[in-house]
């Protein structure tokens, strides 16, 4: 029952909407078969937006995993104040994404932003940079925030993974005379694989579906030059001359299938069964 109401019903409605035509007021105007899907492929913005999505997901997930690995390793060490640092790391996770994004809008701001003030004071740049207005820096600025908010969750998943590695294997490695790096490559990483796979898959889904960051940081830019498939979907439905719920629903269906496909391809490449049975 619950699955039917929460998962199946919206999915069926989404597919049905994607096969229909609606007026701008939302009035149903009949079924159109696959025409919305065909029209979707004709949109000039689709190519660049898909490329943006690839950059966004790839960079955020990749950077997040690498940084989180280091952070988790650090938090696994015994040091005074470790509890405090662990708590501090949760903060970006606990804060609402819209609030965090809005905060970063002001940090990045050309006239009032802290980032420019700091960089100019440190003589890193000569004058301020319009991080969210300059086409060359918008995506990077968004990726920075994406990584920032993804770190806590990922780090904790990896930390849990690290702590589940029994101490004996390290002892054995030491007895065999393995160096620190060699132990890491040959013992820690392989044993961490299940945690890494879980972190990667969940991040893949979260980051792909992330709306607030891209929406908030990109809201002053006209057009679709820095949108991902998710914000583009919203603009098709409500914020562009298309103003077309049916077309947006078609993109919604495509988005779900893409996420599913990406996850399957990923799991297939890392051969997840083995990593869990190992």
């Amino acid at each position: 029952m619950l699955i039917g109401a929460v998962v199946l019903f919206p999915a069926v409605e989404l597919v049905r909407a994607s096969l229909s035509r609606y007026s701008i007021t939302g009035l149903y105007q009949g079924a159109v078969g696959g025409r919305n899907y065909a029209r979707l492929l004709q949109q000039d913005a689709l190519g660049p937006v898909a490329l943006n999505t690839l950059t966004w997901v790839g960079a955020v997930v990749g950077l997040t995993l690498v940084i989180s690995l280091a952070l988790a390793q650090f938090l696994d060490l015994e040091f005074p104040g470790r509890r405090l640092v662990r708590w501090a790391l949760i903060v970006p996770w606990a804060a609402s994404l819209i609030m965090t994004s809005k905060l970063f809008v002001w940090i990045y701001d050309y006239y009032f932003g802290l980032l420019n003030r700091a960089l100019v004071a440190l003589h890193v740049v000569r004058g301020p940079i319009d991080w969210l207005g300059d086409d060359r820096t918008v995506m990077g600025a968004m990726i920075g925030v994406g990584v920032f908010v993804s770190l806590p969750f990922t780090t904790y998943v990896l930390l849990a993974g690290l702590q589940s590695i029994p101490g004996e294997v390290y002892e054995a490695a030491r007895v065999d005379g393995a160096s620190g790096w060699r132990t890491y490559w040959a013992v820690t990483l392989p044993l961490l694989r299940p945690a890494l796979v879980v972190a990667a898959v969940l991040n893949l889904i979260y980051v792909f579906n992330s709306f607030p960051i891209v929406w908030t940081l990109n809201d002053r830019n006209p057009g679709f030059g820095h949108d991902t498939l998710i914000t583009y979907m919203y603009k098709i439905a409500f914020k562009s001359a298309l103003r077309d719920v049916g077309l947006a629903a078609a993109l919604g269906v495509v988005n779900v299938l893409l996420t599913l496909a990406a996850v399957l391809v990923y799991l297939n490449t890392v051969r997840w069964r083995e990593s869990f049975e190992a």
């Binding site: 939302g26 006239y111 006209p222």
Partner: protein
């Protein structure tokens, strides 16, 4: 709600024509008493018509006005606000030359409200959205106007950075409130904030014009009543109560907006703070909100106009594309 076949009885929105086109709304004679209908200011009543009948009932209005920072004007030795576009460019240059981050004019052409900023500049050059009942977005006058705005940014360099990517509320207004900006197009809520903060000395006047008398943009919000079985009497009673002059005026005053009815204009004219806007109101022009295609044209303008004033942008190409889309949408 429409999509789920559960329309509201009444709705307050800044657009109505698409709903009227889909035949979802009551016309005025079905649900408004003649007294209420006749009290509406002529321009706003006309702004609510679809196919000659009033469907979008005016509920509140606002008018844009030209704001200037009197401290910066004094420092730049400018004695009066600019009347022509040539004056305007000269004054903006004088303010920018003050240095220290001073900005001559804050130009917001980002997606939030590009159509409003654009309307005002377009009209003050003698252009318009339409010519007769055909779209005229890419007329020679309009291409010239958008070129002028692009020049402000890229040639004269008297605007803030990236005006095509600046919104009104958190961009242009924020800079003006911070005392960095010489001139900006604002409205009464901005005045309210400036007065509350008390940081910036400013005055309000008419737009500089390049053709004919100065024009400003009026914006009206609508109340509309949805046709539903058995709700006509109740809706009628509600609207009668709502449009009692003392009720609606109290509400409009509390929200800091401007009246839509003759009785309201009389009631509110004693407020000195509102005088500059009330003076502009009878001459304010409205965007073509009575055309159902406008609801999409507006969004198109918001998503593309800013691209024309970026370095290397092409005003004519942007306007041509807008014209093409608008014409296709209207089917004429």
């Amino acid at each position: 709600m429409i999509q789920n076949n559960q329309p509201p009885d009444v709705l307050n929105l800044n657009a109505f024509a698409s709903y009227a086109k889909d035949n979802l709304l009551y016309a005025a004679e079905d649900v408004l008493s003649p007294k209420t209908k006749d009290d509406f200011l002529e321009a706003f009543a006309r702004g609510g018509e679809y196919r000659g009948k009033l469907h979008g009932f005016p509920i509140l209005s606002s008018a844009r006005a030209f704001f200037y920072n009197t401290d910066l004007f004094a420092r730049a030795r400018i004695t009066a606000p600019p009347k022509t576009w040539d004056d305007f460019v000269r004054d903006a240059q004088k303010i920018t030359k003050l240095g220290g981050g001073a900005i001559g004019y804050a130009l917001p052409l980002g997606p939030e409200e590009a159509q409003a900023e654009w309307s005002i500049w377009m009209w003050n050059n003698g252009g318009d959205w339409k010519s007769g009942d055909r779209w005229a977005i890419n007329s020679d006058k309009n291409v010239q106007t958008l070129g002028f705005l692009a020049d402000l940014a890229n040639k004269h360099k008297v605007t803030q950075v990236n005006p095509g990517k600046t919104n009104r509320t958190d961009g242009a207004f924020q800079l003006f409130k911070d005392g960095k900006v010489g001139m900006v197009i604002g409205f009464s809520p901005l005045a309210k904030q400036l007065d509350a903060e008390g940081k910036v000395k400013y005055a309000v006047g008419a737009m500089p014009a390049n053709a004919g008398a100065a024009v400003t943009l009026g914006v009206e919000d609508y109340l509309m009543a949805f046709k539903k079985k058995g709700n006509q009497e109740a809706v009628k009673k509600f609207l009668d109560l709502y449009y009692q002059p003392e009720n609606i005026t109290r509400w409009i005053t509390a929200e800091g907006f401007l009246p839509v009815a003759k009785s309201g204009l009389t009631q509110m004219s004693s407020d000195a703070k509102l005088k500059p806007y009330l003076d502009l109101l009878p001459n304010a022009r409205l965007a073509p909100t009575t055309d159902p295609a406008w609801d999409k044209v507006k969004l198109d303008v918001q998503q593309s106009l800013g691209l024309a004033v970026q370095p290397g942008g092409n005003p004519k190409a942007v306007l041509d594309k807008l014209q093409q889309n608008a014409t296709a949408e209207s089917g004429r």
